[in-house]
Symmetry: C2
Subunit: 589 residues, 2 copies
């Protein structure tokens, strides 16, 4: 089926939710105009719709294969990737200093979403490369940066993250891979890594593996983990790929979804590697890379929601079945006229647009965290953007699974037939709440590092910002006032659960963390609804000036639906969090 | 992975929730003892665990195939089916008059669940045969019954339901298949039927198709549909299969799940068929068959929830990962010690046991609907059991999808790898809220036929019964009092939405039916929680006598968890139902 990038909604969010006015005061973004952003995203949307999206179903039906350590990519992936590189799409969000285009993160986020909506299996390769770039920018020496960054930023070389081992998934303390120092300052890396996305493939001339391993004298646990760069081909002095390193792809996994993306088992046998940053500080660097990747996985959730919604909407507009319940026709009508199909479609749209709005809002704070002129402003932006990361990852991926499932439901029996395509989204989406940290891991982060560590300060600061939005909503229209009332109730639910976490976690951590996922979903639901409420404010103003009436009307409708059908989940979640611990913890499993 | 039938929970439900005392007063069930039921279910559980369950994964990896109109079943299915027939398992719930074992429906339901938990693809064949038996018992002539019933009840022959056509899924008014009268009183049936489960296979010597079609002079719409029996092989006077009828299997579908179950496209070309009941009354008979099938699909939901829960629990007890958040160990522990894994497992258990309890309760009323001594008692039991049917179908299948998804989540990254098996449940479960009527179709039934038609009488009668349970809960313990409080709140939410439906549906059907699925989920959640609350009452009494302490303690825990984590969803659902119509209906899609 055809795919159309939701550029209009993205541009609205970038202009109105990402704090663009403030970003324009920064020298880095002073010259970035909305027209330029629109041109870039429109062109990228066209490219993805024409070149990448058509490979989504075919790559699922005939996935990538592995034989004798060589991975052959699904048909068309190789050619499409060359075009992707030629057209310099990889460089979009990266710094101009190393050949990037230096666009705001909200624009990079929109591009990531578009690529993933077109083809999640394909998009994983550039996504991992982005993560490697982030890690090298953070902790690489000048030599490392000069040797690797330019080719990663063009996409000529690709990157991977090598964390997981058979016994070490969520728990990196259990890592066993070893790194022995060599005389020349490099290291010999040995060990087995599993679940390595694009660990081996034929699309690029070199692959740069970032690998966690332990030096012989490293302390036990996570404080003894170091980060190494281990290239598939060692790089010659002239910058070209040389000797093949001793890294073997042993197999690729037979997965539920994202089948065209090769998920490899890699064996490192005294492979030559280079330390990134300091020994035993690997986890810190990996966390930077992982935070970027977690945010990106949240975008994948929005992306698959968008794609599933487009497909279900198109089907509902064509499929004729049953007379309408209101008796307005004696003949069968298209199923979009049936109120439950409408309900499913509106819910898909609301959580998808809500997730996108929340992600765009977060991207603005990420930029300020790096670029704001004062240390105070940077610190505040860091706190806020880091608070938002587990919400974007957790909420947008949990809702992605729900949205993909609702997309199957809209199709009825046809949704269960693989050729229809709805089932692929349902399968693909299922990895999202798992990889780069399960939703429970995100919730642990939200409670521990983001709520308890600053005594709830950031949480309450966000609540204050929400109050401001509520006040503005009171001034506009009956609809925005109705949204304000529901936003206020959800905010109160949120503050009650923040108090609960602060009071409970120290003495009864199991009670607090057992309510972690509900707390994450409550907070995510609130923040997504808040950003949609902000959208409704902007759209109400725009309606008065007659600007783009149809689009603006729909933004208000989405926010209003969200307020009445999604945001009210906070009541149940609050009850579960605050009154659910005993029945959860005292049961015999 | 191994599977163990949950016979203990089933026997508890049959003894305490299915109204067994009243059933014992009926001559049909006067001699049915719990020990006999226990013996039957234990033996059937053993058979399914040993012979049927091992074929579940292999049938998924190497599904049934179709070549030139012949379907070859997945490896092992043929042999297992012969054993199933030899051991007379098919006859369990059917009347003794035609060779059945005449056990209460609650026992038949338990057997259906066990078989489906072992292997849903396999179980679909007997399930469809049960439906055909139901239809023939309802509307077949003596000649039809004598010719076909005995062989269907032994399982020597299998049955199918042929409703769907490419243009007619949920909407049977759009049916086009034709039935021309022949001189000998039979009919020539022609048309294309799709999504026909086990429409062609090699496990039985004959297949009896029940087919909806129109006679030439039939009125348009659903009032012109007749039901025909169309055997794959015409039956000789001596009862053996004779000439092959003109029915061709054109292909089987490539599906998301239940892959070993052949879903066929059947072409009927002047095939010889026999009218069942009256011309143009086919839909009524089909509805009987469909109601039985809908209830059975609800049991499939419970079944897959049970299987997914067993698998996730076993994984969580073995997988070691991360230190506990409460600091009780400095080493990594099995993940069952992590509170969010506990939360996922408890939710899986609660909705599965809740669904099973509700289904068993319903089975008791189904028996009374047929067998109660007075017309009044039969009418009341009919009303109650028919009110429950869309709840069992809708609630237990929606929660099955959620439970299977949670099962994947418990497995983390391993859950996304097909070899682990958790993903199969996630794929298999997805058909359940679709076939035999989507959840929205169930909700239409719940609103239209079950709530509005009697002006809310049955709904309020159930609420009165729930009040009685609340009163009993008040007398027992702190835990049961806490359950009572939450059950009462959910019951009030239910009654408010019943009032809303009665007030809204006549003037604004789109508002009412647009809230249909939330109304179904609220009512289903309430009734499942109610039955668990009844279980907690019984278990509390049993604890005092020291009977089976561990099991009884767990029943109370399940009910308590359900009350604090599932039942509170009614608040959000009520809000959506009563305040959600405008934002739903006024949006531009």
């Amino acid at each position: 089926m055809t795919f159309e990038a939701p550029t209009k909604d993205m541009l609205f969010n970038i202009e109105h939710l990402s704090g663009l006015e403030e970003l324009h005061t920064l020298p880095e973004y002073a010259d970035v105009e909305m027209e330029d952003i629109a041109a870039v995203l429109t062109e990228f949307g066209r490219f993805c719709a024409e070149e990448i999206a058509p490979l989504n179903a075919s790559g699922d039906h005939n996935p990538s294969t592995c034989e004798k350590g060589r991975v052959t990519m699904a048909d068309g992936f190789h050619e499409a990737y060359q075009k992707f590189v030629e057209m310099q799409w990889q460089s979009l969000p990266h710094p101009t200093e190393f050949g990037g285009q230096g666009l705001p993160r909200s624009v990079g986020a929109a591009a990531t979403e578009i690529l993933n909506a077109a083809n999640m299996s394909f998009a994983l390769c550039p996504l991992l490369t982005d993560g490697a770039v982030e890690a090298l920018l953070t902790a690489g020496t000048d030599e490392i940066k000069n040797t690797y960054l330019a080719n990663l930023i063009t996409g000529k070389w690709t990157g991977t993250m090598n964390l997981t081992e058979p016994q070490a998934g969520s728990d990196l303390a259990l890592l066993r891979s070893r790194a022995e120092r060599a005389d020349d300052g490099s290291y010999h890396i040995s060990g087995t890594k599993i679940f390595i996305t694009y660990g081996e493939h034929d699309m690029a001339e070199n692959t740069i593996h970032l690998v966690l391993a332990r030096t012989p004298d490293a302390p036990a646990g996570v404080k003894g983990i170091s980060l190494f760069l281990v290239p598939k081909y060692l790089v010659n002095p002239d910058g070209t790929p040389g000797t093949r390193n001793d890294i073997t792809c042993q197999s690729i996994e037979h997965k539920l979804g994202i089948k065209a993306s090769p998920t490899t088992v890699l064996e490192f046998s005294n492979a030559k590697g280079f330390l990134i940053g300091e020994e035993n500080a690997g986890l810190n660097y990996m966390f930077r890379m992982m935070n970027a990747a977690r945010y990106a996985v949240g975008l994948q959730g929005v992306a698959i929601g968008e794609r599933a919604h487009q497909q279900a909407l198109a089907f509902a507009q064509e499929r004729v079945q049953s007379r309408p319940v209101d008796g307005t026709s004696r003949d069968a009508v298209t199923i979009i006229n049936h109120p439950d199909v409408r309900r499913l479609l509106m819910r898909m749209r609301a959580v998808t647009e809500g997730g996108r709005a929340m992600a765009t809002f977060t991207a603005g704070w990420q930029d300020l965290a790096h670029l704001a002129p004062t240390a105070n402003a940077r610190a505040r932006a860091t706190r806020i953007s880091e608070f938002m990361t587990p919400l974007v990852k957790g909420f947008c991926t949990e809702t992605a699974v729900e949205t993909a499932s609702n997309g199957v439901q809209v199709h009825g029996g046809m949704g269960f037939i693989e050729e229809t395509g709805a089932a692929q989204h349902y399968r693909d989406a299922r990895i999202l709440p798992i990889y780069e940290g399960t939703t429970a891991i995100q919730a642990n982060d939200l409670i521990g590092r983001k709520t308890l560590r600053d005594g709830g300060e950031t949480a309450r600061e966000l609540a204050e910002m929400i109050v401001e939005t509520e006040q503005a909503l009171q001034e506009k229209s009956d609809t925005t006032r109705a949204i304000a009332a529901r936003l206020g109730r959800a905010r109160e639910d949120f503050l009650a659960t923040v108090d609960y976490m602060l009071a409970t976690a120290p003495a009864n951590p199991n009670a607090a963390f057992g309510a972690g996922v509900p707390y994450l979903m409550l907070t995510g639901s609130l923040c997504a609804g808040w950003q949609l409420a902000r959208s409704a404010l902007i759209a109400t103003d725009a309606l008065e000036t007659g600007e783009d009436t149809e689009f603006m009307q729909r933004k208000i409708e989405t926010a209003n639906f969200y307020a009445h059908h999604v945001l009210n989940e906070t009541a149940t979640l609050r009850d579960r969090i605050i009154h659910g611990a005993d029945s959860l913890l005292n049961a015999t499993l």
